[in-house]
């Protein structure tokens, strides 16, 4: 299968300079990017062996001696290309704050407790149909210094590879109905509402496990289209 990566697909992304998110002001290029044709360098990408992911790396609730505190959740979905085909065997990495909104990272000084039983890092590989699944803890909101009383909506960071180096994606998954949405400049850096909502998971009652864990569905759509456009039904 030959995939194309039209630049139009990039329109969904935030502007690199989004001044409401203050750190973008000195970290975004001031000169226009130079368009170049995709060569083999851009159209290929890393392939991983089974050694990259260990058996329980997708379950963040069993990495320590005890169980982490907080609301246990299942996060699952498909990694898809722009035609809706599953992206098989691709690496999905995840990292997040604990239930109190605190990261293990040494720079995070938010005065909320660390959980000795929760690191907040996981990874998995999508299966042949592009499906992936994590078991984790619902992360808490946390404050940051961007502006007065700035709080990040609860989110899980995702890193996904896909078919080529230009399909690489780092994003954040949000939870439906978060009251912090209107006030978060990172979330709102995606100006198109439909595109923004693609970062919001949906509550999945059907796959919620009775007496055990709520489930959220998060499909991740990467760049990549068929050379000949698919028929839409």
């Amino acid at each position: 299968m030959t995939l194309l990566y039209p630049l139009q697909s990039l329109a969904a992304h935030p502007a690199r300079l989004s001044p409401d998110y203050r750190s973008t002001v000195k970290r975004s290029p001031s000169r226009p990017l130079i368009p170049i044709r995709h060569t083999l360098s851009e159209l290929t990408g890393p392939v991983y062996g089974h050694e990259t992911v260990r058996e329980h790396d997708n379950d963040l609730t069993i990495q320590a001696k005890g169980e982490p505190l907080g609301e246990r959740i299942i996060v699952h979905g498909h990694v898809l290309d722009e035609d809706g085909r599953g992206v098989p065997n691709t690496l999905v990495e995840l990292w997040q704050a604990n239930a109190c909104g605190r990261y293990v990272h040494v720079v995070d000084q938010h005065p909320a407790p660390l959980d000795p039983n929760f690191t907040g890092a996981g990874r998995t590989q999508s299966d042949a149909s592009g499906y992936y699944k994590f078991i984790t803890i619902k992360p808490g909101a946390y404050p940051w210094g961007n502006h007065h009383n700035a709080w990040r909506p609860a989110h899980i960071h995702f890193s996904v590879f896909g078919h080529s180096f230009v399909s690489r994606l780092v994003t954040q998954m949000y939870f439906p109905g978060d009251p912090l949405f209107p006030f978060d400049p990172i979330f709102n850096s995606v100006t198109d509402e439909k595109a923004r909502m693609r970062m919001v998971s949906s509550f999945d009652l059907e796959n919620t496990k009775p007496e055990w864990a709520l489930c959220y569905r998060f499909d991740i759509v990467l760049r990549g289209q068929s050379a000949t456009p698919m028929e839409t039904k």
């Binding site: 000195k26 001031s30 690191t119 907040g120 990874r123 960071h157 994606l169 990172i186 759509v221």
Partner: protein, 198 residues
């Protein structure tokens, strides 16, 4: 899974300041590294090199919470990916590396000098490494290329030819003593690195 065509891609968001324990723990956190900054494998052929440098923001301040990823061909110019139909992998060289910047904004990759890779018309490109730059304050990563100052092929490279002459040097790593090359990344400003719209 539905067979419906999605509305579009999932938008990018910043890697943020706290990725290290998940993406580049490097012995400082207990999580294991999926990738490191050392691409060398015992059986790899080619010239072993180190590419190192620092990342700077628009004020010239070092960026200490940056993640860099590289993707490159092997010494014969072949990618370790079945989509490269020419590939005849003769080693376990993967061609992918990841490095977080340190307290001085510095990074380094140990790898091999890539061979020449053809462009879509079959013309040779000069040896180069693709570099993706992620950081807090970057909502979408940037792509650039690392070329080498001791490669005669740079003069005929079709990508370098598209870059204004006065900015071309930002894409070219300079050879130091030994096998090391220096390649600094300037996210913004007078010395801004050329980034590609790919």
């Amino acid at each position: 899974m539905s067979n419906q065509r999605p509305d579009g891609v999932t938008p990018s968001q910043t890697v943020g300041p706290y990725f290290k324990y998940g993406l580049t723990p490097n012995g400082e956190y207990e999580w294991n590294d999926a990738f490191t900054n050392n691409l060398l494998t015992p059986d790899v052929s080619g010239d072993r090199i180190r590419v190192e440098g620092k990342v700077f923001d628009g004020d010239g301040a070092v960026v200490v919470d940056c993640m860099l990823e590289i993707w490159q061909a092997d010494g014969q110019g072949r990618f370790s990916d079945p989509q490269d139909k020419r590939a005849l992998p003769n080693s376990s060289f993967k061609g992918f590396g990841r490095c977080g910047t340190d307290k001085t904004g510095g990074y380094a990759f140990d790898t091999i000098k890539p061979g020449s890779v053809p462009d879509p018309d079959g013309n040779p490109q000069a040896p180069h490494i693709l570099l993706a730059v992620f950081a807090r304050g970057m909502l979408l990563h940037l792509y650039t290329r690392i070329y080498f100052d001791d490669e005669a092929g740079n003069a005929g490279d079709p990508v370098l030819a598209q870059v204004p002459a006065d900015r071309r040097a930002t894409l070219i790593a300079t050879r130091q003593t030994g096998n090391a090359y220096t390649f600094d990344v300037h996210l913004q400003g007078d010395r801004e690195t050329v980034f590609f719209d790919v």
